[in-house]
């Protein structure tokens, strides 16, 4: 029988693309023959804007990269700046950063889990995850004054000390999290329909994942043990005890379930950081007008989506000469076109959801 190929356009306005992302699919019946992804609909030219901002003014813009993990994006930038300026961050500030960063990671993974459940068809799981994410959002709001765009970290420390009542609230959340995760597992992970939709769908081999420069949960789902917090510890991560969960098949289910497992590990880190939280200053001695010496710095952190790298070039003035962000979502998405070839159109949404992209970060 003679078949004819059909061109179908997914996005840019499509709820399952998690933002404004477009894919042009060439279909043979229901099977994807060729895919052409078109990002760029949310491009705001942040890297260029930053060239006309002073160093502290860069910070609110980093919130708007991965807007589901604003604190981690802040951290990526201040980390690079501290390397450029050779600043020693006080102990208490480092602990606060770890606590807030891991809370943000849980929040980001909760959105990934929730949205994935919604993408595959179970909207109940979506609502349950968002209910618990709200607790984290409340805590972030309590500490920084905003839910999604905290701008909380500062070069050499953090903006303000933890408010009264935060530690109790955080402890309560950490104690509650295992019950919540049990609920997600009952609702989403254990659901047979969900498993049929995701297991053995679009596996990525470890070798291919490394070759495509994937990072974060997607890489670890393929069984590659590479987490920057363990492999090349930044901040004070070398002092905490935690495991790096690994997947075995690298399929959609592993990519999804790895995030659930990582939430537990993050909670473990927060618990240790809360116990160890020392007293002391929350800011290093940084000059009022920040003018780094001529030079450049590149620093990486493990964001919730993968390796977030920030490259800063200073020409000795108060404004950066160039800032570049290595955004994990963008680089992970590079493998998407190739991966969905040969899969059914319904799987395309499941595969895209398992990548957990945030378009603010992809397009920058």
């Amino acid at each position: 029988m003679k078949t004819q190929e059909m061109l179908i356009n997914v996005g840019p306005q499509h709820p399952s693309t998690h933002g404004v992302f477009r894919v042009v699919l060439t279909l043979d019946g229901e099977t994807v023959v060729k895919a052409n992804s078109v990002p760029g609909y949310l491009h705001r030219g942040i890297e260029k804007i930053l060239e006309s901002r002073t160093y502290p003014q860069v910070l609110p813009y980093t919130d708007r990269l991965d807007y589901l993990a604003g604190l981690l994006m802040n951290w990526g930038y201040v980390n690079a700046m501290e390397e450029l300026m050779d600043t020693e961050v006080p102990e208490r500030a480092e602990h606060i950063r770890v606590i807030m960063g891991e809370l943000q990671r849980i929040a980001s993974h909760l959105v990934a889990t929730a949205a994935y459940s919604g993408d595959v068809g179970g909207l109940t799981g979506f609502i349950y995850c968002f209910r618990d994410r709200e607790d984290i959002m409340d805590m972030i709001e309590m500490v920084s004054g905003a839910r999604l765009t905290p701008s909380y970290m500062r070069i050499g420390g953090v903006a303000a000390d933890l408010p009264d009542g935060f530690l109790e609230k955080c402890q309560k959340f950490i104690d509650y999290l295992p019950t919540a995760i049990e609920e997600y597992n009952g609702l989403i992970t254990g659901n047979e329909i969900f498993q049929h939709r995701t297991k053995k769908v679009a596996p990525i081999t470890a070798e291919r994942a490394i070759n495509m420069s994937l990072s974060g949960p997607i890489l670890r789902a393929s069984g590659v043990n590479y987490d920057l917090r363990k492999a090349r510890p930044y901040s004070i991560y070398d002092r905490f005890e935690f495991d790096v969960p690994l997947g075995s098949n690298g399929d959609c289910f592993d990519r999804f379930y790895l995030r659930v497992l990582e939430m537990t590990e993050s909670a473990r880190i927060i618990r240790q950081a809360l116990d160890k939280l020392p007293d002391g200053p929350i800011n290093a001695k940084v000059p009022k007008i920040i003018k780094p010496a001529v030079g450049e710095a590149y620093a990486e952190i493990e964001s919730s989506k993968g390796i977030m790298g920030v490259y800063v070039v200073s020409d000795g003035s108060t404004k950066p000469y160039r800032i570049h962000f290595r955004r994990p979502s963008f680089i992970n998405l590079g493998h998407f076109d190739e991966l969905i070839q040969g899969w059914k159109i319904a799987d395309v949404i499941a595969i895209l959801g398992s990548f957990d992209i945030v378009l603010g970060e992809v397009d920058c």
């Binding site: 901002r53 502290p56 003014q57 860069v58 910070l59 609110p60 813009y61 919130d63 109940t124 349950y128 209910r131 709200e134 409340d138 709001e141 309590m142 500490v143 920084s144 004054g145 905003a146 765009t149 701008s151 903006a159 303000a160 408010p163 609920e183 009952g186 609702l187 989403i188 254990g190 659901n191 047979e192 329909i193 498993q195």
Partner: protein, 176 residues
Amino acid sequence: MFGKGLLKGLKITIGRFFGKKSTVQYPEERLPLPDRFYGKPDFHYDKCIACNLCVNACPNKVIKLGTETVEKKKVVTGYHFDQQYCLFCGLCEEACPTDAIKFTKDFELTTYDRDTIGIEFVKQGQIDKKIKEVKQAAAEKAAAAEKAAAEKAAAETKSQTEEADKAETTNKEGGA
């Protein structure tokens, strides 16, 4: 058994159905906002010293500060906050040495047209009052200075005459 997972999920949702609600009826019921919340900005005219730090701290050039020099003193004549470009990052509040700019907890900032979204905090009455105060203070200071100068001059003439008197007496005594 196929469907066991589905039943487990249903059990969770049924249990939740009879549980406590996690939502509130928003416009009527409101959750408390934390103290650090960044809502609509508020400006205290009397605290502002026109140092321009907030203007320089802002990443989006939201704040326009107008000043006028009256009797060698800076008087704020305008503080325009263009709210539509505000990122609510709080860098201006952090930069302010006198807490003149503060963020309130008001987050319902929708307006019907563009003209009303920018806030002009300074009223003409406040400027007039401040200028009057500054001028009055300057006048008082000048008057006080004049008075002090006059007193000093008087004291000087007095001491001079006293000295002259003294000299005269010594002369007389010497002559005797």
